[in-house]
């Protein structure tokens, strides 16, 4: 058994407001092994991006980590001073965000941005850094890197820009990449290219990825394991095949059913009634129970915790024997 690369334990992210503290992410725990791709899927507001932001230590105040810990290779990183966190960010944890135009500086040539990143995080000199930048651009599939290295971000198309962002994330050979909706802003044909590239790069570099997306299809293509988030908690986590093929949690079942499929004719899509609760109006018990078709006595009263079930872990009273009696 290899050592866990990233371990998130009982993470809680809260926002103090005048009307009380809002809990956006609550009691989230998961591990990522070296070289593993963990998909985190959920709808907007589920807390998936916030979890990623917490790992790289970029939660915007007044938001804060209220409880729990984040361990990288067994070492706590959630309470590091910002100066030390900055050295981890970029070097040991790379980042890819949704919109490549906002994650690149429009005023600098991409070569400058790559070389600066390499110089900041490694001991290379400028010539070696430039050589490495060229190699990275070639690796992410930018044609004629010699010519393109001195281009500005606006001279690239959307897909090419996202490739440059991937090259930036890989510049210091990080152990983990946090990719937050890396393909959402791209056209389908380009999306397929970027997914294939991300998969290849992680395999070649043995880089682990936390892939945050709302697109189950992207997860099914890319991830080894998947965590399904709802209203700030993980409701189901397990091997991607198990979760996609035989979802257990009623929310995951609803989510899978609501995806229109290109190869099946369905007169009606399964729909989950209602919408995700607001942070200010979290229902008691299981946050999903007001929308759940299978809710019963204990659901409204107590919050279910993640319990192993088959190859997955599910947070649902349906999977806890004897739940009715104590509810």
């Amino acid at each position: 058994m290899t050592k866990t690369l990233l371990s998130v334990r009982n993470l809680r992210i809260e926002f103090p407001t005048r009307r009380g503290t809002l809990v956006a992410v609550d009691d989230v725990s998961f591990d990522i092994m070296p070289g593993e791709v963990l998909g985190v899927v959920g709808e907007s507001g589920a807390g998936k991006s916030l979890t990623g932001t917490a790992i790289i230590g970029l939660i915007e105040p007044p938001g804060r980590i209220g409880a729990g810990e984040i361990l990288l290779n067994g070492e706590r990183i959630d309470d590091l001073p910002s100066e030390r966190m900055r050295r981890i960010r970029g070097r040991r944890i790379g980042m890819v965000f949704q919109d490549p135009l906002t994650s690149l500086n429009p005023l600098y040539r991409i070569g400058h941005q790559l070389i600066e990143t390499i110089l900041t995080h490694t001991a290379m000199d400028r010539t070696a850094a430039r050589r490495r930048a060229l190699a990275l651009l070639a690796e992410v599939g930018i044609p004629a890197p010699d010519a393109r290295i001195d281009n500005y971000p606006h001279q690239f198309s959307g897909g090419m820009r996202q490739r440059v962002v991937l090259a930036l994330a890989l510049a210091a050979n990080p152990e983990l990449i946090i990719a937050d909706e890396p393909t959402t802003a791209l056209d389908v044909s380009v999306q397929a290219q970027i997914i294939a590239l991300l998969k290849r790069l992680c395999r070649d570099h043995r880089t682990a990825v936390m892939l945050i997306t709302h697109d189950m299809g992207v997860i099914a293509e890319t991830a080894d394991r998947v965590a399904v988030m709802y209203a700030g908690r993980i409701v189901e986590i397990g091997a991607v095949r198990d979760v996609v093929k035989s979802p257990r949690h009623p929310y995951t079942i609803g989510l899978m059913g609501s995806i229109p499929k290109p190869d099946v004719d369905t007169p009606r899509l399964t729909q989950i009634p209602g919408s995700m609760p607001r942070l200010t109006a979290m229902p008691p018990g299981c946050a999903f129970h007001p929308r759940c078709p299978q809710a019963f006595a204990p659901c409204a009263a107590r919050r279910p915790n993640l319990k192993p079930h088959g190859n997955a872990e599910v947070a649902c009273w349906l999977f806890e024997p004897g739940a009715e009696t104590c509810g």
């Binding site: 709808e43 090419m160 056209d187 389908v188 397929a192 290109p262 190869d263 919408s275």
Partner: protein, 332 residues
């Protein structure tokens, strides 16, 4: 298709002038530049049917949507709705009456609703504009009825757009489109900004409304799976032209044009068959300077010398219309 279509788009085209300002052109000796956003697109939609246009960004599908509702005039061709040309100056009076019967639902419900208006007022505006009801109480009653129709509580009419979630906002936008009692609704990426479970709610709602009210849709999306769910007839666009037009079942069972095949292949595989997908190289070219011949040839694995020089025409292939030399020559 039945003999009497509600919407008939005839060889419609639209170019935009994207030239630099006059002074720059004079100083830098630049010619005028034109962008052909849509060229030679024809299709018709029978009453109570849904026709879908799919394509990637820059394919011209949204321009077709705007042409179909008359938001922009075509540079060539014509759009005829219920027998009335949308551009014949002689038929202005008829067209004004026709306007009521055409509505549009936009992609972003955050941008398409006036943030300073209450939902009920947003919905009531078309009712007043077309004079469907005169008395204040009747207008309000109608707005409440519409809110109920799209699955909202009439009490929600008091709320402002920011108080709604994305899905609820799109419901308000649909209620507004329905307020003028239209026959034909153009939906331009109506669910692209929404989460999947909300998307399912909106798609189901749109189908229910179509059945109940006998609506005709022009449905525009980049998502093939969504389109399959909604439409009976699909047109695939690439760089401003239709490359394939086919009944839905046929398109998914036997896609013909290499671009359609590529699009279908690019849809992430939820079945986890493990079949490696072969992503097509390259991206959509710049529409200001489209490739010669078939616009898809630089990315097409089946391209030959003819594809590079001669633009393929949209020809019948089985039940479909396909613009591809390889299909025509049975190389594919």
């Amino acid at each position: 298709m039945t003999a009497d279509p509600l919407v008939d788009v005839k060889n419609v085209g639209r170019t935009f002038d994207v030239s630099k300002p006059w002074l720059n052109r004079m100083i830098e000796h630049l010619p005028r530049q034109f962008l052909a956003a849509v060229t030679g697109v024809s299709f018709s939609i029978a009453p109570r049917e849904t026709f879908a246009l799919v394509g990637e960004s820059g394919s011209g599908k949204s321009t077709v949507a705007k042409l179909a509702v008359g938001l922009i005039p075509p540079s060539a061709g014509d759009v005829v709705i219920a027998g009335v040309s949308m551009n014949d100056p002689a038929r202005r009076a008829e067209r004004r009456r026709l306007r009521r019967r055409i509505q549009m639902v936009f992609q972003d419900p955050y941008a398409s609703l006036n943030p300073r208006c209450r939902a009920a007022d947003i919905i009531a505006e078309p009712i007043r504009a077309f004079g469907l009801f005169q008395r204040r109480a009747e207008v309000a009653g109608q707005a409440h009825e519409l809110l109920r129709l799209v699955g909202l509580d009439p009490a929600d009419g008091r709320k402002y757009p920011h108080e709604f979630s994305g899905g609820q906002r799109q419901r308000v936008a649909i209620a507004r489109a329905l307020a003028s009692q239209p026959d034909f609704i153009v939906c331009d990426e109506p669910t692209s900004a929404l989460d999947v479970s909300v998307q399912a709610q909106i798609l189901n709602l749109m189908r229910d409304l179509q059945d109940r009210l006998g609506l005709t849709y022009l449905f525009i999306s980049h998502n093939l799976a969504v389109v399959r769910h909604m439409a009976r007839q699909i047109g695939v666009m690439y760089l401003g032209r239709l490359v394939e037009m086919s009944p839905t079942a046929e398109l998914f069972a036997a896609p013909r044009h290499p671009y359609t095949r590529m699009l279908l292949d690019a849809v992430p595989d939820l079945d986890m068959t493990g079949n490696p997908r072969k992503p097509v190289e390259g991206e959509v070219p710049n529409p200001i300077d489209p490739p010669k011949g078939c616009a898809f040839h630089p990315r097409c694995p089946y391209a030959n010398a003819r594809c590079r020089v001669e633009r393929p025409a949209l020809l019948a292939a089985g039940p479909a219309l396909v613009a591809c030399h390889a299909v025509e020559e049975a190389r594919l």
